[in-house]
């Protein structure tokens, strides 16, 4: 009996003491390089709400004057910093001055703005000249819907408008490239999955990490079939099975529509608590003469969150454009 009591006490002590030893106090943080966060199940942790805001306004294709130079000089960056400060001053204005021409667009403070200047001279990072490769002649023939920029669009039918204006999609690239607002990308991970919830047009990309093959090529979609894997701390997502001739590799999915041969390889690398380096390699032999890469930083900003973007449910633009066009025709006939 005595043995029993002693062994019992020793066992309980060992069992309760183990977790205490495991949680030994950590040394105070010093100015060490950032150590990649891991999820409890051991994957690199990319979770958070990220935005591509910082490169809003950075052109897709580099201006010729910069040649092969991807980054601005310190002097050029300082100029851009003061432009951001001036913009922020303008955004604070609540009423339109008497002399100003009042437009029908939203006030300036509706838009998202870069919080710091984008260091890049173009969104295209490869080839070295920062310019999109040439587009094949047959690809140029693919119809492109009317975008938001045209104030006098062809409006015979809903199909005349872009997939973005129709609130269908902006495609994979168009859903992360920086635009005037709605650049939020919420990443949530589970064992075996990464999901990216994108505010604008409420996309949800569910990316399996278990190494399964792509879906059968008969299953095609606007956002494609994504498969992910880890290379070190980098999430690599390969997406195929796209529909043919829908969205392009441009802001909001604009530009010449890509083909059913499109393959996108994205790389997400968290390099700091609030910084993910993002790049996407674009291969589409039926559209471009060569593959190319686009890249930019994604940042996490205090207070930034995704909201529900009920685009189709509140799509007055489509209704107004179509009914406006019919009203114009009627007015022409009665003249």
């Amino acid at each position: 009996m005595r043995y029993l009591i002693v062994t019992f006490i020793v066992t309980v002590f060992l069992l309760t003491a183990l977790p205490v030893f495991a949680q030994a106090p950590k040394p105070a943080p010093t100015a060490k390089p950032w150590v990649a966060l891991k999820t409890p199940w051991g994957d690199p942790d990319l979770q958070g709400i990220w935005t591509s805001d910082d490169c809003i306004g950075t052109p897709m294709n580099r201006a010729a004057q910069f040649g092969d130079r991807l980054y601005y000089t310190e002097k050029e960056l300082a100029d851009r910093e003061s432009a951001i400060a001036r913009q922020s001053e303008t955004d604070r204005q609540e009423t339109v001055s008497e002399a100003a021409r009042a437009g029908t667009g939203p006030p300036g403070h509706w838009a998202e703005r870069a919080r710091r200047p984008c260091r890049q001279t173009s969104l295209v990072i490869d080839p070295p000249n920062g310019r999109t490769p040439d587009i094949l002649p047959e690809a140029r023939l693919r119809p492109q819907g009317e975008g938001a920029g045209n104030n006098n669009p062809k409006a015979d039918s809903p199909e005349d408008f872009s997939y973005y204006i129709r609130c269908i999609t902006r495609g994979v690239a168009g859903s992360i490239f920086p635009v005037i607002y709605g650049n939020g990308q919420q990443i949530i991970q589970a064992p075996g999955y990464v999901t990216i919830l994108q505010e604008m047009v409420h996309e949800s990309r569910v990316i399996p990490l278990d190494g399964r093959p792509h879906a059968n090529p008969n299953i095609r979609s606007y956002m494609g079939d994504a498969r992910g894997r880890w290379e070190g701390n980098t999430l690599v997502v390969e997406t195929t099975n796209f529909l043919h001739g829908k969205t392009g590799i441009g802001l909001n999915g604009g530009g010449v529509p890509t083909s059913d041969a499109l393959k996108l390889t994205e790389r997400f690398t968290r390099v700091g608590p609030n910084l993910v380096n993002y790049e996407v390699a674009i291969e589409d032999s039926k559209t471009y003469t060569a593959p190319f890469k686009v890249g930019f930083p994604l940042t996490q900003e205090p207070g930034y969150e995704n909201f529900e973007y009920a685009c189709h449910e509140g799509n007055n633009a489509m209704f107004n454009s179509l009914s406006g066009a019919r009203a114009q025709e009627k007015a022409q006939q009665t003249k």
């Binding site: 409890p40 979770q47 996309e203 949800s204 879906a215 009914s323 019919r326």
Partner: protein, 269 residues
Amino acid sequence: MSNRLRISFVTALALAAVLLQVAMYGQTPRPNPNIPRMKDGKPNLTGLWQSLGTAYWDIRDHSAQAGPFYQLGAIGATPAGTGIVEGGDIPYRPEAAAKQRENFKNRLTLDPEVKCFMPGVPRGAYMPYPFQIIQSQGDIAIAYEYATANRVINMGKPKEAAVDTWMGNSNGRWEGDTLVVTVNGLNGQSWFDRAGNFMSENVRIIERYTLTDADHINYEATVEDNTVFTRPWKLRLPLYRRKEANAQLLEFKCVEFAEELIYGHLRKK
């Protein structure tokens, strides 16, 4: 080690394990050993889920009936179904019961599903499409195949709804092995089904997700909305894990399938 000593050591280990169990779980019910769990012991709801049955036609008990378009024949007909409403009846206020009948009569123009609008809560859980739960160590995402609708269940400090939305504002917490989600900030434009059962913007939904084994979730939703109903009521149904080796969330972007219905009258003649 003598035989007696070995026995006493094993007994001590077993006793210690039992004591630890008691200390860890206190008063809560005995945890289900047959469900997948996260590293921290929480049930792991991650997976592709779908309901069976015909609740998406009508959450109440209903007979089979012809569909609105004879051209679709048997394809367009409504199958009979047993209801998912606890007690059978939805406790509508009289004027709300009349509105539900009106909704049903005009369902081809009024049902948000016809127009490919977001499903809202709880409708997304029992539409004839799967949905994916992605459960992290913190927040939980739900991606519905229908209309690419999605929502995030905040598992941190509860958040207020900033604005009313289709998918609402979801705050979750664990009650033992049950995920309890309080959904408010709903815009009241969602229906429960294709039969015109509806709610108002004053609604609050309390969802309960309980894994009963590795492949089944018991789903419950309590509906509180005293502008439409005389008392809170509950619906309940099982969700099934999609088991096909190649099952995955696919894309059902239905906007383009609804454009002719919504904008067709504005097409150039």
